[in-house]
Symmetry: C3
Subunit: 129 residues, 3 copies
């Protein structure tokens, strides 16, 4: 159910992007109680002039390789779960792709469970009437 938009520089390879997707999916499975195979990820590649991401906000030094991960998901995760997710993503990207942890910006948008259709025109998560 999480729908993930990942905005990054166009200089990345498809293999790099696939591993970014793996890391985000693995982090969701490990920390957000997301079911197996619940993977819906959209990548947006950008010229460098299309990504204006501050280089020092909050004292974190971001580089040209900074990427943004915006996740729409059902409401209800605790703050601790969200914190674990952020850490798992930053650690995973660093371990598997050598991404600097400073270059991982994440945002969550929460919605109601009836706000999804995964195909066939049905709201699969809505409560039965």
């Amino acid at each position: 159910m999480p729908l993930v938009r990942i905005d990054l520089h166009a200089a990345t390879t498809s293999a790099f992007r696939a591993t970014v997707g793996d890391v985000v999916y693995d982090a969701m499975r490990a920390t957000l109680n997301v079911p197996e195979d619940d993977r819906f990820q959209i990548f947006h590649q950008h010229a460098s002039t299309e990504l204006m991401l501050d280089a020092t906000y909050l004292g974190i030094e971001r580089s040209e390789e900074c990427l943004v991960i915006q996740v729409t998901l059902n409401a209800g995760r605790t703050v601790a779960m969200k914190q674990a997710f952020y850490k798992a993503v930053a650690d995973g990207l660093h371990a598997r792709l050598d991404v600097r942890r400073e270059d991982v910006v994440i945002n969550l948008v929460e919605v109601a469970k009836e706000n999804w259709s995964f195909g066939n025109g049905i709201a699969q998560y809505a409560d039965p009437a």
Copy 2:
């Protein structure tokens, strides 16, 4: 007021995309009580490696032609209205473009009515002060 992002493969034609937009707009008019001409749609075309959409989640077999429709709209629609919208979109895309119903993923994001400006720097839907 709904702002619609439609993410799909780059192999589609502009005529295909225009009809996708017509279907989504018609479905909103029919099921979500959206006013006439309230049509604000943004299409994002993607290389196949940019759309990582699971092929079997919830037992629904999605193909390479799967598309994602993310709609930001005012809160307040009932579950039944949302269900009718999903069905109208999937049925309409199937009838008019031969899109497989399994390939239609939809997500709604709800906001407050004062969260919109449709031009001129004014919050047209906000209550008068």
Copy 3:
């Protein structure tokens, strides 16, 4: 913390986009109580057939140059602050880039303060446990 997506026509220059970003950032600083350097902006350039934005909805005459600014930010701003933001953006784009005020569409999406990580895998805005 606001994450801004700006969707506009591909015919714009990088200088134009940079100034759009400046205007949005300056408006946030002036009206939404956003901290200095809190600037995270993503631009999506589009072919004209990818932006289907109604030309007359609510009696506002939009042109081919219409752009859409979608802002994800923490909940809690008053209606008056949002109204001031819309006005500051439309006025700023008009004054600095000669954009028609009718061509500025804005949408806000509000989230909880723990829904952000600005790097290092940490939820910088979450309350201490």
